[in-house]
C-alpha cells in the first residue's frame, strides 16, 4: 500500500507513526526549559555581566538548535518512510488491485540493430520492455506487439500471463524490416478495445523504439483515445554513426550484350564526421570491383561502376561496404558503423541479347500500307538477321497482358482499337513500374483510349492534351509541317543540326487542346496543334505522337529520317533505371520469367537456400513468380530441376539507415498530446523505474539529516565559544 502526497510517494507509510519522534527534541527542550534548579549563589554580579554579554544568537541558541534537531528528526523519519518522487503520478499510483491494460509496442525494425557499445538498440528495447513488465501487477493485462513490416502479437487479446510475455520478449529478434508503425498502433488501439476491461480501467501504450524521424514523423496518434496513456521510451543511440548504401541503379535498366552499363550507387553518411567509404561491387560472385568515395557528414554521394556485359542473362550483384569505414585525413580513428545490415545491397538486372519492343497493333496483318508495318520494319530493318539490336513482338491489343508487357522494354501502340479498362490498367501499371509507351494516334479510338488511360491511372496520368477533332488535309491536297521542336529533349537532340524534321509532311492528325501544366510538348504543327508530347507516369514515360506512320497520315515512312527517328524514340524511351531491381524485405516480391513452363517443377528458395512457399502463374508468354513474404535480405530464387531460372533481390528499406531520431518534445508535438497522457523515460532501467514507480529519495533525506547533524554540532561549537 502506497501513500501519495503531492508527487511524493511514501513506500513505507506505516512509519508515519514515527512522526511522534519529532516531539522528542521539542519535549527535551521544553522540559529542560521548565525545570531550572534553585541555587543560592554568593553574588549575581558576574552572572549579570555574563548574561548581558550574550548575543542574540546566544539567546536564540535554543530555538536554532531546536529547529535543527527537529528538522534532523524529520528527515530521518522521511528517510525511513522511503519517499519516492514521481513525475507521472498517474503511472506510479495505480492501485495494483484494480489492474490495467498495457500494450507494449517494441520496435524491431532494422534500425534497431544499431550496435552501440556492444549492445544493440533492440537489446535495450528488450531490457526496457522487461522492466515495464517488472512493474506490472498480477492483475494487469498485457500484450506485446513486435513492430516489423507486419505487427506480431504475443496474444490475441491482452493477457495476464506475464511469463509468456517475458518469454516472447527474450526470444524476440531484430528484423530487417521497415516497421509499419501505423499498423502496429492501430493494432494496439484495437487490442485496448477488445480486452473486455471496463472503461474505468486505465490503459497504457508503451512505445519502445529508436523513434527514427523517417519512420515516426508520419504516425497518426489521433486514433488513440484520450483516456489511453502513452509512454515513449527511446532506446536508440544519442549520436549515431552510420554509412549506408541507399540505392543502386543500373543504366540502362535492361542493357543488351556488350552495351556499356553504368551501375550507379548512392551512399549516405548519417554520422557527424566525414568518411571515406570503400565500396565493393561483387559481380556474379567471381569478380570484385572496388571504389572509394568520400562523404561529408549528413550527406549522400553517388559513384558508378562502368561495365560491359558479354553474355545475356540474369545477373545477381551485390554492392557492399567492406568492414568499417575510416575517417577522413587528420583523424585516423575508425568510425563506428553500428548498422551492418545497410552496408550491402543486392540487385539484379537482365542483360538481353537485344532490345525487346512490343508493338501493339490491331491493323490487319496483310495490310502492307499500315503504319504498324512501317514501324515494325523501321524498328528492325534487318528482319531476322542477327545483327539486329532491337527486335519487335507484334501483338493485338486484346492479347496484351502483364507478362508480355513486362518482358518489353518499350511498348509501341499503333492503330489500336478501343482498349478495355483492364488493358488500360495493364499499360498504366507498366508505366508506373518504369516502362515506356509510345502511342501513335491513328483512328477514332485514340480519343477514347486517352480518356480511358486517364481514368485507369486514378490521377497518376493526365494527358498533356485532349483530342478535339480530326484534320484530314489530304482532301485539299494540303499538308502540315512541324513548326516547333524541343531539340533539348533526348529524342530530338540529334535532329537539331540536320533540320530534316521540317521537311516532314503530315496529312492527317488530330486537333488538340493543350492541358496546361501537364506534360511536355516536343513537336508542334504549323497550325498550332501538338504533334508530339511526353508525360511521365510513375517511373515510366508516355510519349504521345499525334500522327500515324502510314503513308496516308504522313510521308515520314518514305523519308530517310524515319528509321533514325523511330530508333531515337525507342532509345529515349528505354527505362533509364529499373525500380524493380530489388524489393523491400518484409514485403512480398515478384518477378516474371520466360524460363518456366507449365510442366516444370518449380522450387522457391530464400537467401539461405531454404525452400519456401511461393506462387507461380504460368501463361503463354511466361511465368509470374510471387514470393508472399520475405524475411531476409538477399536473393530469392526459383529453381527448375535444381537450376536457378530466376532471381529477385531483397534489401532493407533505405529509410532504416537514417538514424536521426525525434526527441521527446518533438514526439509530444507530433503526437499532439497536451494532456496528461504523454510520458517519456530514457531507455535504461533506472529511468523506466523512476517513471513507473518514482525515484527513491531516502538517501537524499538521510544525507540532509547528516548535514543537519553536522550543522547542529557546528552551531553548538560556535555558540559555546
Amino acid at each position: 500500500m502506497n501513500l501519495l502526497i503531492g508527487t511524493i510517494l511514501f513506500d513505507n507509510p506505516a512509519l508515519w507513526i514515527g512522526a511522534i519522534a519529532l516531539g522528542i527534541p521539542v519535549m527535551i527542550h521544553l522540559l529542560t526549559r521548565r525545570t531550572p534548579r534553585d541555587m543560592v549563589f554568593p553574588t549575581l554580579r558576574f552572572i549579570r555581566m555574563a548574561k548581558a554579554n550574550q548575543s542574540n544568537i546566544h539567546r536564540l541558541r535554543h530555538i536554532i538548535l531546536l529547529l535543527l534537531r527537529t528538522a534532523m528528526f524529520l528527515f530521518i523519519l522521511l528517510a525511513f518512510l522511503k519517499p519516492i518522487i514521481t513525475e507521472s503520478s498517474d503511472l506510479a499510483t495505480q492501485d495494483p488491485d484494480a489492474g490495467k491494460s498495457i500494450i507494449i509496442l517494441a520496435d524491431a525494425s532494422a534500425s534497431m540493430g544499431y550496435l552501440n557499445d556492444g549492445v544493440t538498440s533492440f537489446s535495450r528495447a528488450k531490457v526496457a520492455a522487461l522492466e515495464i513488465l517488472d512493474h506490472c501487477s498480477a492483475k494487469d493485462k498485457i500484450n506485446l506487439i513486435i513492430m516489423g513490416s507486419v505487427p506480431k502479437l504475443s496474444f490475441d487479446a491482452p493477457s495476464e500471463n506475464l511469463v509468456i510475455t517475458r518469454k516472447d520478449i527474450r526470444e524476440a529478434e531484430v528484423l530487417p524490416d521497415h516497421a509499419d508503425i501505423n499498423a502496429a498502433l492501430a493494432e494496439a488501439v484495437k487490442q485496448l478495445g477488445v480486452d473486455g476491461a471496463p472503461p474505468s480501467i486505465k490503459k497504457e501504450i508503451y512505445f519502445v523504439s529508436d523513434f527514427q524521424r523517417s519512420n515516426w514523423s508520419n504516425v497518426n496518434f489521433g486514433i488513440v483515445n484520450e483516456n489511453v496513456q502513452m509512454v515513449f521510451i527511446p532506446v536508440g543511440p544519442e549520436e549515431a554513426s552510420n554509412c549506408a548504401i541507399i540505392s543502386v541503379s543500373v543504366l540502362p535498366a535492361s542493357p543488351t550484350v556488350m552495351e556499356p552499363v553504368e551501375i550507379i550507387c548512392k551512399v549516405a553518411n548519417y554520422g557527424n564526421r566525414s568518411s571515406q567509404v570503400p565500396l565493393e561491387l561483387v559481380f556474379k560472385d567471381d569478380e570484385i570491383l572496388t571504389q572509394e568515395i568520400t562523404i561529408e557528414p549528413h550527406m549522400t554521394a553517388s559513384t558508378s561502376f562502368r561495365v560491359r556485359i558479354n553474355d545475356s542473362g540474369l545477373y545477381e550483384c551485390r554492392l557492399r561496404i567492406p568492414g568499417n569505414t575510416s575517417l577522413s585525413a587528420g583523424d585516423r580513428l575508425t568510425a563506428k558503423d553500428g548498422l551492418e545490415i545497410d552496408n550491402q545491397r543486392f540487385f539484379t538486372f537482365n542483360v538481353a541479347q537485344k532490345v525487346n519492343v512490343l508493338l501493339v497493333s490491331d491493323a490487319k496483318t496483310d495490310d502492307v500500307k499500315s503504319g504498324s508495318r512501317f514501324l515494325d520494319r523501321a524498328i528492325n530493318p534487318f528482319l531476322e538477321s542477327q545483327d539486329a539490336t532491337v527486335v519487335t513482338s507484334v501483338i493485338r491489343s486484346d492479347k496484351l497482358d502483364a507478362l508480355n508487357a513486362a518482358s518489353a522494354q518499350v511498348i509501341i501502340l499503333s492503330e489500336i482499337n478501343e482498349l478495355s479498362l483492364d488493358k488500360a490498367e495493364i499499360l498504366i501499371n507498366y508505366l508506373r513500374d518504369g516502362g515506356s509507351i509510345a502511342y501513335f494516334h491513328v483512328g477514332g479510338a485514340s480519343a477514347h483510349n486517352l480518356k480511358l488511360l486517364t481514368e485507369a491511372s486514378e490521377g497518376d496520368y493526365a494527358a498533356p492534351y485532349t483530342l478535339t477533332g480530326q484534320v484530314d488535309l489530304s482532301i485539299k491536297n494540303e499538308h502540315a509541317v512541324l513548326a516547333g521542336a524541343n531539340f533539348d529533349h533526348r529524342i530530338l537532340r540529334k535532329f537539331k543540326e540536320t533540320g530534316e524534321l521540317g521537311d516532314l509532311k503530315f496529312y492527317s492528325y488530330f486537333t488538340t487542346e493543350r492541358v496546361k501544366q501537364k506534360g511536355q510538348v516536343l513537336l508542334s504543327f504549323d497550325d498550332g496543334n501538338v504533334a508530339m508530347a511526353e508525360k511521365t507516369v510513375g517511373l515510366g514515360t508516355m510519349l504521345l505522337c499525334n500522327f500515324g506512320c502510314s503513308l496516308e497520315s504522313c510521308d515520314m515512312p518514305r523519308h530517310t529520317l524515319f528509321v533514325p527517328l523511330v530508333h531515337e524514340i525507342i532509345k529515349g524511351l528505354r527505362p533509364s533505371a529499373d525500380a524493380r531491381n530489388s524489393f523491400e524485405v518484409g514485403h512480398q516480391c515478384s518477378m516474371t520469367t520466360e524460363s518456366v513452363t507449365q510442366k516444370d517443377h518449380v522450387e522457391f528458395r530464400d537467401p539461405d537456400d531454404t525452400v519456401i512457399e511461393g506462387t507461380l502463374d504460368v501463361s503463354s508468354s511466361g511465368a509470374f513468380i510471387f514470393f508472399p513474404r520475405t524475411h531476409k535480405c538477399g536473393f530469392y530464387r526459383i529453381f527448375v530441376k535444381n537450376s536457378p531460372v530466376g532471381s529477385v533481390a531483397v534489401n532493407v528499406n533505405a529509410l532504416e539507415s537514417n538514424l536521426e531520431a525525434l526527441d521527446i518534445s518533438q514526439l509530444k508535438e507530433l503526437a499532439k498530446i497536451s494532456r496528461a497522457q504523454f510520458y517519456a523515460a530514457l531507455g535504461n532501467q533506472s529511468s523506466i523505474s523512476e517513471l513507473l514507480s518514482g525515484k527513491h529519495l531516502w538517501h537524499y533525506f538521510l544525507l540532509i539529516a547528516i548535514v543537519l547533524l553536522a550543522l547542529e554540532q557546528v552551531t553548538v561549537m560556535i555558540l559555546k565559544r
Binding site: P36, V40, L44, H58
Partner: protein, 314 residues
Amino acid sequence: MPLERTKKAQGSGHKYLNADYLRYLESLYLSSRVTVEGAYSGKHASPLKGHAQEFTDYRKYYPGDSIRTIDWKVYARTDRYVIKLSELETIMTCYLLVDSSASMAFGGQWHENFFGSEDMSKFDYACYLAAALSYLTIKQGDKVGLTLFDSNIKSHIPSGSTYSHLYKILNQLEKNRVGQGTSVAKVLRESFPLFKHRGILILISDLLDDPEEIFGALDMYLHKNFEVVLFHILHKHELELPNISSVNFIDAETKQRLTSIPADIKNSYTRHLNQFIDSIASTAQSRKVDYQLFSTETPYQLALQNYIAGRGRK
C-alpha cells in the same frame, strides 16, 4: 610548643582544629615581615631600641638616661659618655578578620547533596584557615585576635597569646552563624581602633565588595605599618560554574533571582570573575598587600603550607 599543651589542643576535639590538622601545622612558622610593636620580648623585630643582647648603635648620653646604659669601655677609650643601643625583639600580634556574611555560606551541604561529592563552604574554609593561623601564632608565642563580621562587626576577641585564648577563638568560630550582607570596607574602618598594636592583619573573605572601598580602608592599616594579608576565598563553583542545564541563581545576600544556563554564560562569567580577581591582585601588589586566592577545592592545610612556604621565600 610544650607537649602537654599540644595534647590539650588535640583532645579538645574542636571542629576547626583537631589532631589530624595539627600534624600539618607542627612544622609551620608564621613570621612578621614588618616590625611589630610589643611590650614583651619575642621573636619579632620591634621598632623600640634599648638594652638587649643584639647591639645596633651608640648615641650621646643625655641627662636622665640610666647610667647603666652608659658604655664604660667607650668612655675609657674616648672620655665621652655614650649609650649602647640594641634592637629589642618583641612578640607579634596577628589580627584575623573573618568574613561571615551570607555569601560565605556558599558550598557545603547543599553542594554535597546536589553534586554527590564532599564539599566545604567558604565560611568553613575560612574558619579552618583562621583556626590554623591562630594555633600557629599562639604556638610560636605570639598574640592573635579574631574579628568576625558581615556588614558589621559581629564579634571581636582581642589579641591574646594563651591556649585558653585559642579555645576562646575556636569556640567563637564554631558558634558563629553566617549573617547577612557584606561590607568589608566599613568593618575595616570600624575595627581600626580596636587593633592597638602594629602587627599582621589577615583578612579572610570572598571580598564581594567594592575593591576600591576595601583598599581605601586597608590604606589606614598600611599607613600605620600593618602587614596586611588578604586571603581571598572562592568556592570551586564560583571559579567555574557547574555544568547544570538551567539554574535559578539566587543572590545569597540580596535574594534576587536570575535564571540562566551556566553552560551558556560559563565563559563570559569566568572572564568577568578573573577580571575582578586580577584587579584585586594587582591593586594588592601595588600596595604591597600580600594577596592569596584560595579555592575551597584545595585542602586548606596544603594551601596554608604553600602560602607560608612562599611567604618565607619572599
